[in-house]
């Protein structure tokens, strides 16, 4: 790793490879092409909510919003009365430029969002208020106070700003070839474009001046030009869609392309100045829909324009020690700061949510680690709390944010504006919690907000949170409330209900509802067909499932879950090579999907590629260490195929540490004595997991001891956590669905298969489900035998199952044999007297000839 590293980080808000790739192919972005060809590129996964100040602060800190504290575009002021745009003061932790300042690196920042007031770092800091022209004229354009550090350079940088009115046709024609024919009706759009071009050019002028005239080791600049341009003009980008008026399309169709090209020109200039030895990192916080996925309508909710974003931004990096012509997978915006620290060989904070992207390096050092940078002493240049806010300026900034569509125009009543801003920030905090997997924290906020005002965007997310933690009843109650309040009839809520139905195992109902939604929405409605496909798969309609998933991919090829799902379908049909392609595609889009790596591992085993399979399973486990099934398969690959016994032992040792509890299972075929064993366990004081729904009858006069949820174990095993330390009855056909993250003590009831067959037949007669004795079915009999055989094989090979086989016949005839066996097996005293009291030999009704002979 170089100790004389010079790093430039350039931020292009909203830049997307989908736009860039065709432009590079046409030779229209030669500078970025050079960067791409001489470095490493990849997707950069965004966070939710996808609001730029929150995202760029996550980039600069390596932390999620609930840690860094920036919660939107504006925020309630500490005075409890006013609102203000988010500031550098809003950030509760050190940004990368503070850490580098502490490390005595020459550090410069330009216009990061948010970065006002400018921070007293070890270099030049230019805040994101610096370039804003707002309603001033070119002749009278005072610079925003505290927008430049050091202060003595304020005048110097003020002169590098370009006022929108300075721009001429020569600047605008490349974007607007019909400019001279435009009437006053186009004034608003042209003015907006003029502003964004001037503002971004101002930032470029300041940045180029810094890196030309100042000593630098780290310099960073943020441009919002692409994002703003896309929000305003992407709708006119080719191909033209039917609802776009032809005249407007003709006028504005070149703007987005032109803005990308202009950014490429600016990049070229920066690369020229920086020189070949510099490391250059280009990043964006999210992508932007540019094709058929562009939404026609923007949902009515705060900052609804973010629905135009797409999930992946870009990263491209080149420089000494950086791999050339390479691809980085699984990168997230949280990884940027850890990666910058790694580039400077500095320790990564354990309190950071991201990781260094080691795969970009030719020969990476082992990352160093520090508990936190927050308590490291030394001048870090954190923003001064002595900031004196200019209320007029803050107001103008808020107006501009509203003009840009980021926020609603603040209410004239200050109390209302304050309250709505606070609620928006709180809902963003809750969304950030959701995104970070802190669902309970999210629910607490959403419930409070929902009590205050039943806004649809709050209730949708609250319902999703309830589902995520299995609170189906609360979700159902919320949906009911919304139905009663007349808020229900829209596709978003219906989709949530469909997901709820799926969680409840009602796949047929869910698929019908989803098909109904399909008639109401257009193809931009994300993920609908994936849900439809899941429903069809669960109700065993693979052809319909495949058609639905193909539809999903036709709409959105970048949906990694759709690729994964198609892969699973193909894997189940032994189409291993095609399945492999699907899982690779899913992983290339979203590296952090542990399941995709897991299924890739299984596919590679089927293809006989054991080394690659072990790698895939290792990656899956590194992302999700709880996946004991992956651990089990990996252990067998090492043991059986790769002759790595030591590795296999090591994996096996990890197995138990990822089991989260112990459950006693009573299993066996229906009518093999499972209810009797449950009865016996209850009599000896074992806690039973049963809902009592299925009441006793002639077939089981002493009760069934079942629970309704057990039948859904295939698709929802979450209820098992309620069984910890208890006994639950799970019949043999379901036993192989037990997940691998518990230890199980299984009492497996055995009975002569012919007796089981006859007993089941008698049961159906008693229940009136058949009215006459059927002719003996060899097929059913064989199925019983086969199920017993496969269940036992599964149990015998499961690493965290202890199994005790109990013969029903023997238990009835010789209970004394089982008192000791059960005592030893369950580590619990089981008295013979209890067994004898529980057993009623008169209920042993379907004896086979051999059983009768032996008794």
């Amino acid at each position: 790793m170089r100790d004389n590293r010079k790093l430039l980080v350039i931020g292009w808000d909203g830049a997307d490879w989908k736009m860039i790739n065709p432009l590079m192919d046409q030779g229209l972005m030669p500078n970025l092409e050079k960067l791409v060809n001489s470095g490493t590129i990849g997707n950069l996964a965004t966070l939710d909510p996808p609001f730029s100040p929150m995202l760029w602060t996550s980039m600069a800190t390596g932390k999620r919003p609930y840690t860094h504290g920036v919660m939107g575009f504006n925020e309630p002021d500490a005075d409890g009365i006013n609102i203000r745009p988010v500031l550098s003061l809003s950030r509760k932790c050190k940004a990368i430029w503070n850490i580098l300042t502490q490390e005595k690196k020459k550090t410069h920042t330009v216009a990061w969002w948010p970065s006002h007031p400018a921070e007293p770092i070890n270099g030049v800091a230019i805040s994101n208020f610096y370039q804003r022209a707002m309603k001033n004229t070119a002749d009278h354009w005072p610079i925003a106070p505290q927008s430049v550090h050091p202060k003595h350079m304020e005048d110097h940088y003020a002169k590098l700003r370009i006022h929108p009115s300075e721009l001429t046709g020569a600047h605008l024609f490349p974007f607007l070839p019909m400019l001279d024919k435009l009437g006053p009706s186009h004034m608003k759009e042209v003015q907006q474009f003029r502003h964004l071009l001037a503002e971004n050019s101002s930032l470029h002028a300041a940045f180029t001046n810094i890196i030309r005239t100042q000593e630098w080791e780290y310099a960073t600049v943020y441009f919002d030009g692409i994002d703003r341009c896309c929000h305003e003009f992407m709708k006119y980008h080719p191909p033209k869609r039917d609802h776009i008026p032809q005249d407007k399309f003709d006028i504005y169709k070149d703007i987005v392309r032109g803005m990308y090209q202009y950014h490429d020109m600016m990049l070229g200039r920066v690369m020229d100045i920086a020189g070949e030895d510099a490391t250059i990192m280009l990043i964006s916080d999210h992508g932007f829909q540019s094709d058929h996925l562009r939404p026609k309508n923007i949902p009515i909710e705060p900052a609804g324009i973010a629905y135009e974003h797409s999930q992946y931004g870009i990263i491209a990096i080149k420089g000494p020690d950086i791999k050339k012509d390479s691809l980085v997978q699984g990168a997230s915006i949280l990884d940027i700061t850890p990666t910058i620290l790694q580039l400077f060989d500095l320790p990564i904070g354990q309190d950071m949510d991201g990781n260094p992207l080691l795969s970009i390096f030719e020969d990476p050092n082992i990352p160093k680690s520090i508990e936190t940078w927050e308590t490291v002493e030394g001048e870090s240049g954190m923003p001064s709390s002595q900031y004196e806010e200019d209320p007029n300026f803050a107001e103008k900034m808020l107006d501009q944010l509203a003009d840009l569509g980021y926020i609603d125009k603040p209410d004239k009543d200050k109390a209302i504006a304050f309250k709505s801003t606070k609620n928006f920030c709180d809902s963003n905090l809750a969304r950030a919690y959701m995104d970070g997997g802190k669902i309970l924290e999210a629910i607490e906020i959403f419930e409070r907000l929902y009590q205050e005002h039943q806004k649809p965007w709050i209730s949708y997310r609250l319902a999703v949170c309830y589902q995520m933690i299995g609170q189906h009843q609360k979700c159902r109650a919320l949906i009911q409330q919304l139905q009663d309040g007349g808020f229900y009839d829209n596709p978003v809520m219906e989709t949530i209900e469909a997901s709820l139905l799926m969680s409840e195992g009602k796949f047929l109902e869910a698929s019908k509802l989803l098909e109904n939604i399909e008639t109401k929405v257009d193809h931009t409605y994300g993920g609908l067909y994936l849900k439809v496909a899941r429903c069809y798969a669960m109700i065993k309609q693979p052809v319909k499932a495949q058609k639905a998933i193909e539809k999903e991919l036709a709409n959105n090829y970048d949906n990694p879950y759709a690729h994964q799902f198609l892969g699973i379908i193909r894997l189940n049909h032994n189409r291993f090579k095609e399945a492999y392609e699907c899982f690779m595609e899913a992983i290339s889009l979203e590296y952090g999907m542990s399941e995709a790596h897991y299924y890739l591992g299984k596919t590679l085993i089927a293809l006989g590629e054991y080394e690659a399979a072990s790698n895939a399973l290792e990656v899956s486990l590194s992302i999700n260490p709880q996946n004991n099934h992956a651990r089990l398969i990996l252990q067998r690959v090492y043991q059986t195929h790769l002759d790595k016994a030591e590795k296999a032992d090591q994996i096996f040792q990890d197995f138990n540490s990822y089991c989260s509890g112990e459950i006693t299972i009573v299993s066996g075929m229906p009518r093999s004595g499972t209810s009797l064993m449950m009865q016996l366990l209850e009599a000896t004081g074992v806690d039973i997991f049963s809902d009592g729904e299925r009441v006793s009858d002639d077939n089981n006069p002493k009760g069934y001891y079942e629970h309704e949820v057990v039948k859904k174990i295939n698709h929802n095993p979450h209820w098992l956590k309620s069984c910890n330390g208890k006994a639950v009855k799970i019949v043999a056909p379901l036993i192989t669905s037990l997940p691998y993250n518990y230890r199980y003590k299984v009492i497996f009831m055995e009975r002569d298969p012919m007796e089981i067959y006859k007993s089941q037949e008698q049961m159906l007669l008693r229940l009136g489900k058949t009215n006459k004795k059927q002719i003996f079915s060899q097929g059913i009999f064989q199925q019983i035998e086969q199920t017993i055989k496969s269940s036992k094989a599964w149990l015998d090979n499961h690493p965290c199952v202890d199994v005790l086989y109990v013969s029903y016949n023997d238990l009835i005839e010789r209970p004394q044999d089982y008192a000791d066996k059960l005592t030893r097996f369950l580590y619990k005293q089981i008295d013979l007297s209890i067994i004898q009291k529980t057993i009623d030999p008169t209920l042993y009704r379907e004896r086979s000839v051999s059983a009768m002979e032996s008794s």
Binding site: H171, P174, S201, N209, Y262, G268
Partner: protein, 58 residues
């Protein structure tokens, strides 16, 4: 959008030439290429604008 290259150091008077070495006259109305050159292009453009200003008779 023609690409240009600024070759002078910060301490000397900047001159502008295209990548193939030809000198480029600075248009007083500016250009996107000059903006893309950053502070140097801006300075050149503003100088050209200044020179092109009509002189006022006193």
């Amino acid at each position: 959008m023609k690409q240009t290259k600024q070759v002078a150091s910060s301490n000397s008077t900047p001159s502008l030439q295209t990548r193939d070495g030809k000198k480029l006259e600075i248009p007083y109305e500016g250009s996107l290429g000059l903006l893309a050159l950053g502070d140097v292009g801006l300075k050149l453009w503003r100088e050209a604008k200044e020179k092109n200003k009509p002189t006022t008779k006193t």
